[in-house]
């Protein structure tokens, strides 16, 4: 990467920001050049999102200075930041669910006709072009956003940011839900944009992405900057240690090597639903971690929902502990004699009640077990909660604050903790480490192994192939609502996962770029 002589495109200094008692940022500085990709790294809650929210005008810093091209700027709102060429893809998507893709892409400065009204045709064209630029040609610009899957929405979000032709593009975990294939396209695009002179600030918890993309990296910890360094000058484990501030070993704990002698705890036969699930057969034994792989949106979510009792009109048989069950509600799925838990895809809207306290959220699913005659036994509840906070190392200012004020990773832990409190025997997880830092990820992986060792059966859906390979005993790859391949042992590697995900014949050749990613995982 060439070092340019030009002054910094962006320089922030002395940025401090508190939320109530929480110091999110403390005297933080940050600089970046034209034509560079600058990665921000740090644990959950390190202050990365806060920093870029300050930069993009969403929140106002308590003190500090922002300079763009040498001029001091002060953004009162995102609109002003936009106008000066700062475009941000936020961690929480900022798409408008009821509007079409094209409307979303053209939301701030749409093309107008001669009456000054929005020119829908031109807008649609712009949207199509923007989508094509990020490699989302297959997204219909006239589709309503709420009908899109999370990964499609992220593609739209990227297209939306790009359509504004920013000077500084900020991506806060904007690729967390993307599949490997999409990620490739986005990389290519980012490289191109960088070469065209755009400055990109990139936040991700996926180390391989950073390794491949970034020119410069800055690590934050506890609201303070730790160090800025050129990508590739530090080993991965050194970076991680910088982030978590302690020594670090391999992410993935050793898999247990139990012989599968026990009877299956869950047995699914010819499970079908509504064209979206076709003849699913699967067996899980206590202690097993089974992965669900494949491209996003191939029925993995539906399969988990089906097992959790939300699908109407499914056919086929489900047996739990050898007894056939007819699952028709989550309430039934979590009941004592079935014991299924689901950590859903979207923690904000499916997992948490954001304005309720951490305490209330944690005990919510199991609260009836901690109550007598409908009255909560607060002492028992408090004990159980403390135990869970301890177990999951949930970092919160106080557990009587709203869960919405927690960082993403801690929110995810609360969702998992909520279900662990019900003492489930079968745990379904939908991408539980999305947007979660390496340190926390590791904690979650350890937890999964621990739960498996205690006899839980775990069905883990993940868009991250490394995770599937690192955690699972075997992986079921889904395509178009079917399980097309089961990978285990030595067969469980990235090449096979990718080819199975695309439903290619078993020995097909894989594109070289994808191979490059192998071996980069920690």
């Amino acid at each position: 990467m060439s070092e340019r002589k030009s002054p910094y495109l962006l320089s922030m200094s002395g940025i401090t920001k508190s939320y109530g008692g929480v110091r999110a940022l403390e005297d933080v500085s940050f600089e970046t050049h034209r034509g560079s990709i600058h990665a921000l790294l740090g644990e959950n809650g390190a202050g990365k999102s806060t920093l870029i929210k300050v930069l993009s005008g969403v929140v106002q810093p308590d003190s500090g200075k922002i300079e763009i091209e040498g001029n001091i700027v002060n953004f009162a709102n995102p609109q002003e930041a936009n106008d000066l060429g700062v475009s941000c893809i936020f961690q929480e998507l900022s798409l408008l669910p009821d509007l079409t893709v094209a409307d979303n892409i053209g939301i701030t400065r749409p093309p107008r006709n001669k009456f000054g009204l929005i020119d829908y045709r031109a807008q649609r064209q712009i949207a199509e072009e923007a989508l094509a630029r990020v490699g989302g040609e297959n997204i219909d610009p006239m589709e309503t956003v709420s009908n899109l899957s999370l990964s499609r929405r992220q593609m739209v979000e990227i297209a939306k940011a790009l359509a504004r032709n920013p000077k500084i593009l900020i991506m806060d975990e904007a690729t967390s839900a993307l599949t490997a294939a999409d990620v490739e396209k986005v990389y290519a695009m980012l490289h191109r944009l960088r070469d065209e002179g755009m400055s990109i600030i990139y936040i991700s918890h996926r180390m391989p992405e950073i390794a491949e993309l970034a020119d410069t990296c800055t690590v934050y910890r506890n609201g303070r900057k730790v160090e800025t360094f050129k990508n590739g000058t530090k080993s991965d484990s050194a970076v991680v240690e910088m982030m978590i501030g302690r020594e670090y070993s391999s992410v993935y704990p050793a898999k247990s090597t139990r012989p599968d002698v026990s009877e299956p705890i869950l047995k699914v036969e010819n499970f079908s639903w509504n064209d979206e699930l076709n003849d699913i057969n699967l067996e899980m034994r206590p202690g097993e971690i089974v992965g669900l792989g494949g491209l996003d949106g191939q029925g993995q979510k539906q399969l988990q929902l089906g097992l959790f009792g939300t699908l109407i009109g499914s056919t086929g048989g489900v047996e739990v502990n050898g007894a056939p069950v007819k699952l028709n509600s989550p309430k039934m799925a979590k009941s004592d004699d079935i014991g299924i838990a689901l950590v859903p895809e979207d923690r904000k809207y499916e997992g948490l009640m954001l304005s309720m306290t951490v305490r209330e959220n944690l005990s919510f699913a199991a609260v009836e077990k901690m109550s007598r005659l409908g009255v909560v036994d607060t002492a028992a509840e408090e004990m159980a909660i403390d135990e869970m906070v301890e177990l999951l190392k949930i970092k919160a200012d106080g557990i009587d604050g709203p869960v919405g004020a927690l960082s993403g990773g801690n929110q995810q832990k609360v969702v998992i903790g909520k279900w662990l409190m019900t003492k489930p025997r079968i745990i379904l997880l939908n991408d539980p480490t999305r947007g979660i830092d390496v340190g926390t990820k590791q904690e979650i992986y350890h937890l999964l192994q621990k739960l498996a060792a205690e006899g839980c059966a775990i069905l883990l859906y993940s868009t991250d192939y490394d995770e599937l390979i690192g955690c699972c005993d075997r992986v079921l790859v889904m395509y178009d609502g079917r399980i097309v391949r089961t990978l285990a042992g030595d067969d469980l590697n990235e090449t096979n996962l990718v080819s199975a995900a695309l439903n290619l014949p078993e020995q097909a050749v894989i594109q070289p770029e994808l191979k490059k990613k192998q071996g980069m995982s920690l």
Partner: protein, 341 residues
């Protein structure tokens, strides 16, 4: 091979029903309201002893147009995920004011009309300012302003009376070539106010705000201006309704019961017209049909011989059925999670 492409058969399956999916939620709402209205109106016409004469259509149109205007006024705040409980009071205030100043020759009348529209706009703008800059919940803010507006209406017209430019009133409530002028007025409002608004940047911003205020803010949308405009326009539309009421009654009257009736019915009309109370989805055109549905319920009373003491029950039941029709979608749901949006 394109790595990111969705499997081919999946794409084709989605394309198959493309045109149904292309109908936005709002368009589907309009369609349903239109169907309900047509069905009811056919029953009404068919039960009419004298048949559906242009006179009767005109009568029905005049009555429906009033509620339609107030319902359109209600639509805008609802789209932002707000609510305007003062539409009825603004409507009554405009009526009282119009019965005082929309009089005299053409020039005076024109000034009078502008005066009333301006006052309506001001009422709406005051709501907007309180909600946007005062950051009060729309429901309570407009509940409070509705008391204020009603008080002012009462001061203007302590008892029913007043008058209005006769030619204007007559013109507004007549029909030409069997087309009621009140329907033309609605059409004009749609063409000159609603459609431009819908297609303007600030208009679309209201949909964005209703869809997700936070996302709208993060997207750099001028939230404050868009909300202000929505409430102000709401006041304007109520004022147009108030002028039409004046034309229909040749007088003004400050009655709280009328204000409340129109406010509550406007909410019903908006919902029947396919606008979501959760914001982000809706159309003033749907509200027009919603209003006509609500109004036709009353017309059915006249053609069916219903025992007077059973009439309110009849109205209530028909209303409840019309409301519940929209709920039939729960029967089609295949994933229980989809119920909870």
């Amino acid at each position: 091979m394109n790595v990111g492409a969705e499997p081919a058969d999946l794409v084709s399956r989605q394309k198959h029903f493309a045109w149904v999916r292309r109908l936005s939620a709002a368009q589907r709402g309009i369609l349903i309201a239109m169907l309900i209205f047509t069905a009811m109106f056919i029953v009404y016409g068919w039960k009419q002893a004298a048949g559906l004469t242009p006179n009767m259509i005109n009568t029905a149109a005049n009555k429906g147009a009033l509620l339609a205007l107030v319902a359109m006024a209600q639509t805008l705040p609802v789209i932002t995920r707000g609510l305007d409980l003062s539409v009825g009071a603004t409507f009554v205030l405009s009526n009282c004011l119009a019965s005082t100043i929309v009089v005299g020759g053409p020039v005076a009348t024109t000034f009078g009309i502008f005066g009333v529209l301006l006052v309506g706009l001001a009422c709406g703008a005051i709501n907007g300012v309180i909600i946007v800059y005062g950051r009060l919940q729309p429901l309570i803010a407009t509940l409070a302003t509705s008391a204020v507006y009603f008080g002012v209406a009462l001061a203007i017209r302590p008892q029913p009376g007043g008058s209005v430019n006769f030619e204007l009133a007559d013109f507004m409530t007549r029909s030409s070539f069997a087309i009621p002028h009140s329907v033309l007025l609605l059409l004009a409002v749609v063409v000159f106010i609603w459609i431009p608004y819908r297609r303007s940047v600030l208009g679309r911003a209201t949909f964005a705000i209703g869809s997700s205020e936070q996302a709208a803010y993060m997207s750099g949308i001028p939230i404050n201006r868009a909300k202000l405009l929505a409430y102000a326009l709401s006041g304007l539309l109520s004022a147009i309704g108030g002028i039409l009421l004046t034309a229909l009654t040749y007088s003004g009257a400050a009655k709280m019961s009328i204000a409340n009736e129109y406010t509550l019915n406007s909410i019903g009309a908006v919902v029947i017209g396919g606008t979501s109370l959760f914001g982000g989805v809706g159309s003033a055109v749907g509200s027009i049909f919603g209003a006509f549905v609500m109004r036709t319920v009353g017309d059915l009373l006249i053609v069916f011989d219903i025992n007077p003491v059973l009439q309110p029950l009849f109205v209530g039941v028909v209303l409840l059925v019309a409301v519940s029709l929209g709920s039939l979608r729960v029967l089609r749901i295949k994933n229980r999670l989809d119920i909870y949006r």
